[in-house]
């Protein structure tokens, strides 16, 4: 039962109007274009994923390199080349500020820890001990001066820790 009945003696398939054919054709073209765009978008997405993966790998590599460089940099700052602070120079500097009634009994220099100094000193009395500490604290070539526990018997014995800062006395 058709929309408008056909009474032909030999019916034939309905001829679709030209605009209908055009619409179907346009639809097919749009479908093909959409499929092409979709395929191209898929390709671009794949390429973008590959690029992202590459960038991530580069970031990881760079991060590892950064960590290594950081470690090396930290190592570089904590270490002190012996050439920059020869023991004789350090001793000479210390001797220049030691009060007369104090003496340096032992000195250790740890170049691997940035020139950490450990000084075992003996002062005749508290006043000379105070002068010693004052001299060490004021010395521009020393930093982080810390005095250890004091043994006050007839004289004051202690260990003073400091870090070599360089420079002339």
């Amino acid at each position: 039962m058709s929309r408008q009945p056909d009474f032909s003696t030999s019916p034939r398939p309905a001829r679709h109007p030209a605009w209908g054919k055009l619409a179907v054709g346009a639809g097919l073209v749009a479908l093909v274009l959409a499929a092409g765009e979709s395929w191209r978008a898929g390709q671009e997405a794949g390429q973008a994923r590959a690029r992202l993966s590459g960038v991530r790998r580069e970031v990881e590599t760079a991060s590892l390199r950064l960590k290594a460089l950081d470690a090396r940099a930290r190592g570089a700052t904590s270490a002190l080349p012996a050439a920059e602070a020869p023991p004789a120079r350090i001793v000479a500097n210390l001797a220049s500020i030691l009060p007369g009634d104090t003496r340096l009994e032992r000195l250790s220099i740890d170049y691997a820890r940035g020139g950490a100094l450990e000084m075992q000193v003996v002062a005749r009395d508290a006043a000379s001990w105070d002068r010693l500490l004052d001299g060490l604290s004021r010395a521009p070539w020393l930093r982080e001066v810390q005095s250890g526990p004091e043994a006050r018997e007839a004289e004051v014995r202690s260990v003073v820790r400091a870090r070599w800062a360089g420079g002339a006395p």
Partner: protein
């Protein structure tokens, strides 16, 4: 709105051959051209049985002249009122529309049922307007068109084209009279669908308007509307004259062809195609 394709329709009736190029676009249909060539009386006599084209040469020449200038050689033929038997049929559940329409019409056909070409137009729900036309009659018109150098794509019936348009436009509760040269189709509409359908030969002698009013009143009563006077909407051949005789208060204008061609106004099937 641009037309993207044009179909050529060729209608034949007792008084004339008419042709119209109908542009079909996204905005709907529009007449691109129209032509009408009168026929001498007796050259074509619409009839459900027997010969319709008693002077075939005259009809072929009229067809040839009619389509000249409209372009195209493939046509949809529109057969006139009076060649088919029509009936409003309620289809039982599961019935094939064509088989059931033929079953209902077979007893009233003036030719053997086996010679009928049957089809049906949906009329709302399980109701259809069924039609049966003799194969030899259709062939006669197809051969006339072929003899004029045309290729027939489809064959429509003028009253069904008009009824389809009336249903498509949701016709109000009224009685529509669709007139051909020798026959008329009367349809009482209820709720946008035909409730009663009558098809009969025309008697164009004096008093046709009165007789039309009587048959319309009976059709309206059958459709469940006994109010008087019945409003009749008249389309087709001689519609203007009948409307005048019926009076403006009870007669309305129905399907009309495009106004730019005066001869097209009373071609109901063309008005139906464009509505």
């Amino acid at each position: 709105m641009a037309s993207l394709g044009t179909r050529l329709y060729l209608g034949l009736d007792a008084s004339a051959v008419t042709a119209a190029g109908i542009g079909e676009g996204l905005g709907g249909r529009r007449a691109r051209g129209f032509s009408r060539v009168p026929l001498e009386p007796g050259a074509l006599t619409p009839s459900p049985s027997g010969a319709n084209l008693s002077r075939g040469d005259e009809a072929r020449e009229a067809i040839r002249r009619c389509v000249e200038g409209l372009g195209g050689s493939r046509v949809t033929l529109v057969l006139p009122d009076g060649v088919a038997r029509l009936a409003l049929v309620d289809l039982p559940e599961g019935a094939d529309p064509r088989d059931y329409v033929l079953f209902r019409l077979a007893a009233s056909l003036p030719f053997p049922a086996g010679e009928a070409i049957v089809d049906a137009l949906p009329a709302g729900g399980r109701r259809v307007v069924g039609a049966a036309v003799r194969r030899a009659t259709v062939a006669e018109y197809e051969q006339a068109a072929a003899g004029a150098g045309l290729e027939v794509e489809r064959v429509h019936l003028a009253p069904l084209v008009a009824l389809a348009a009336l249903m498509r436009t949701g016709s109000s509760d009224t009685v529509h009279a669709v007139l051909g040269d020798v026959a008329l189709c009367l349809a009482a509409f209820r709720g946008g669908a035909p409730a009663v359908l009558r098809s009969r030969r025309r008697d164009r002698s004096a008093g046709e308007a009165t007789r039309l009013r009587e048959v319309a009143t009976r059709a309206a009563a059958s459709a469940g509307d006994g109010a008087e006077p019945v409003r009749i909407v008249v389309s087709g051949a001689g519609a203007a004259r009948l409307r005048r005789e019926l009076g403006d208060e009870s007669a309305g204008r129905g399907l009309e062809g495009p106004g730019e061609w005066p001869d097209a106004a009373e071609v109901a099937w063309l008005g139906g195609l464009l509505s």
